[in-house]
């Protein structure tokens, strides 16, 4: 583990050294580019028309919200790039910690939903670990159906509650 961190640290240092020689780019985005090994960072608009959007999906170190299908705990393929970004942030910030909090639809059994929320949080954690983050940086818990963000009875309301909130702990 230490050896791997050391190797990564060397890579980061090398990249930073290179960037110091470059002409100034467009500020924050430029720095992010370097940390991500040159990949494009795209910040999207708030997308306020879509309640299932995750506008800061690709912003490293930003809190995240991942959504799930009814009674399922499979992480959507479309969320994998975002998790990769966050995992890499955790790897490069070893003192950073996240709490993955699982939630469900308000319908059905509350205790089953508590366990389903936990299963969703664990599924997100598993992807983080596969992407190289450390288990000791990731805390999982479930609120089941107890902390809905939408209280109505429409399918859209139900869908908004089927989520894992990934929150970075304040230092």
């Amino acid at each position: 583990m230490f050896k791997k961190a050391l190797q990564l640290g060397v890579v980061v240092l090398g990249v930073v050294a290179l960037s110091a020689c470059s002409t100034t780019g467009t500020g924050a985005n430029n720095t992010n580019d370097k940390v991500n090994g040159g990949g494009d960072v795209q910040t999207s608009g708030a997308g306020s028309d879509n309640p299932l959007s995750n506008p800061n999906a690709m912003v490293p170190g930003a809190n995240q919200r991942y959504f799930f299908d009814f009674n399922k705990s499979d992480v959507h393929d479309t969320d994998l790039p975002s998790i990769k970004v966050q995992s890499q942030y955790l790897v490069s910030h070893p003192s950073a910690k996240i709490s993955a909090q699982g939630n469900t639809d308000i319908r059905g059994s509350r205790e089953y939903n508590m366990a389903l929320g936990q299963r969703r949080a664990e599924a997100v954690k598993k992807v983080f670990l596969l992407d190289g983050a450390s288990a000791n940086q990731i805390h999982t818990m479930s609120y089941g159906a107890e902390k809905p963000i939408a209280n109505g009875n429409s399918e859209t309301d139900y869908a908004q509650n089927r989520r894992v909130d990934v929150n970075y702990d304040a230092h």
Binding site: R107, G108, S109, R110, E111, Y112, M114, Q118, R119, N153
Partner: protein, 423 residues
């Protein structure tokens, strides 16, 4: 293993003995045309007692209590009752009585007559109650009348526990079966879940998030004193007392998936009962203590399984519909009630399954029902439903014909559990 702590948490418990008002307002919404007409005549020095008895009998759905304004006379003793007067207005039975004040107590005397028999009462009893216990006295009269006329024990002296969620302010409340005199056992700004009565009616186990993770506590209802029972990492959930109250079944994830465990409340020994990678939750003991029901999605979606406690072997017992959970036995062990979805599109309702015949009856299907709980006489089920924005409590008889609502104006009311018989 965490130590069990006896905690007297005055900070978190609030035992407010409220004046007798109803935060929940029990209303009959569907009765049966064969309800038995009965006249509960206002007692001498009545003070509301006959009104309470009439409401109780109406709430059962099996009686139709006569409005006092339609009564041809107001006798207070069996000898004063003119049977023909009551036959003429098609009443089957008459209750008469007196209340007298004796210091800080009431003496209640009542008689029940069958108008088609004679002036000799079927019941003739007296009782003394303290002045603050008049409602309880009335409920006791109702219980005696109900049992005499139906052959079944009445539930009018029982209580319900439920969770009130008023915009994120949670409380675990205990009230009379009709919603009167609610008392908060715990107040918290974090979720409270899964209340469960002990079989002696003295304690309630529940899950509280006040420490930012689920912990299981047992509170003594009368005093609010409580004990921390389980605070393992991960989920601590779904507590259920064994029939002799010595064991508490519960669910632990310890960071992984949830399995059923059992804690001996006398010596804290923990036994693991299920051990697979599915979600296993909501244990509920059979009345004879030899098996328990639980919810498992080991077959793909939540269904009800029954575990034999002698060898921990389980089989699936629910085969109707796509989702069954939160099952519990009727007091005689012959039926189970559960949260039930017939298909992925019908939404969630309440189902009743006869264990011998496998007959299945849908008792209610609002689309978003949950948490059914049997009355201790096996005749009614209380559950939570959702009409509009808020969760409300509702009751249904086990033949599906009698329905009541318990609306509240205080936010969401959820997870009702009916007490055992308390007297």
């Amino acid at each position: 293993m965490k130590k069990l702590l006896v905690v007297c948490s005055i900070f978190f418990t609030l035992t407010c003995v409220s004046p007798a008002y109803a935060a929940l307002n029990l209303t009959l919404t569907q009765g049966v045309s064969s309800a038995l007409p009965i006249a509960v005549v206002p007692f001498a020095n009545d003070n509301n007692l006959s009104t309470i008895v009439s409401s109780d009998l109406n709430n059962s759905g099996k009686f139709k209590a006569l409005d006092p304004s339609l009564m041809p006379a107001k006798p207070t003793d069996a000898n004063e009752v003119n049977l023909d007067q009551w036959k003429n207005i098609k009443q089957n039975d008459v209750v008469v009585g007196t209340i007298s004040s004796e210091g800080n107590q009431y003496r209640i005397h009542f008689q029940l007559l069958d108008v088609y028999k004679s002036n000799t009462p079927l019941l003739d009893q007296s009782m003394v109650v303290s002045k603050s216990q008049l409602r309880q006295g009335a409920h006791h009269v109702s219980d005696l009348v109900y049992q005499m006329l139906t052959g079944t024990k009445g539930i009018f002296s029982t209580r319900i526990a439920y969770i009130l969620n008023n915009q994120g302010q949670y409380s675990l409340e205990v009230a009379d079966y009709d919603g009167y005199s609610p008392k908060a056992i715990l107040v918290s700004n974090q979720p409270i879940l899964s209340p469960a009565w002990s079989h002696d009616g003295k304690k309630i186990a529940y899950v509280s998030y006040e420490k930012n993770n689920s912990h299981i506590y047992i509170s003594t209802v009368a005093t609010g004193v409580r004990r921390l029972v389980s605070n393992f990492p991960g989920i601590n959930g779904a507590p259920a007392f064994s029939p002799n109250d010595n064991q508490l079944a519960l669910v632990l994830s310890k960071g992984g998936n949830t399995n059923i465990f059992e804690i001996n409340l006398n010596n804290n020994a923990i036994t693991q009962l299920s051990s697979d990678s599915a979600i296993n939750t909501e244990p509920s003991f059979a009345p004879n203590g030899q098996s328990l029901l639980f919810t498992s999605d080991r077959g793909g979606s939540p269904q009800i399984y029954r575990m034999n406690l002698s060898d921990h072997q389980s089989n699936r017992i629910s085969f109707n519909g796509t989702y069954n959970a939160r099952a519990s036995f009727s007091p005689d062990g012959s039926q189970i009630v559960m949260l039930h979805a017939g298909s992925d599109t019908t939404g969630y309702g309440i189902g009743l399954q006869d264990l011998q015949s496998s007959a299945f009856l849908v008792l209610d299907n609002s689309g978003d029902d949950q948490s059914p709980s049997f009355a201790p006489n096996g005749q009614m089920v209380i559950f939570a439903t959702k009409t509009g924005i808020h969760r409300q409590l509702a009751l249904v008889s086990t033949d599906g014909r009698i329905k009541l609502r318990l609306p509240s104006d205080q936010g969401d009311v959820q997870e009702p559990v009916w007490s055992p018989f308390l007297n």
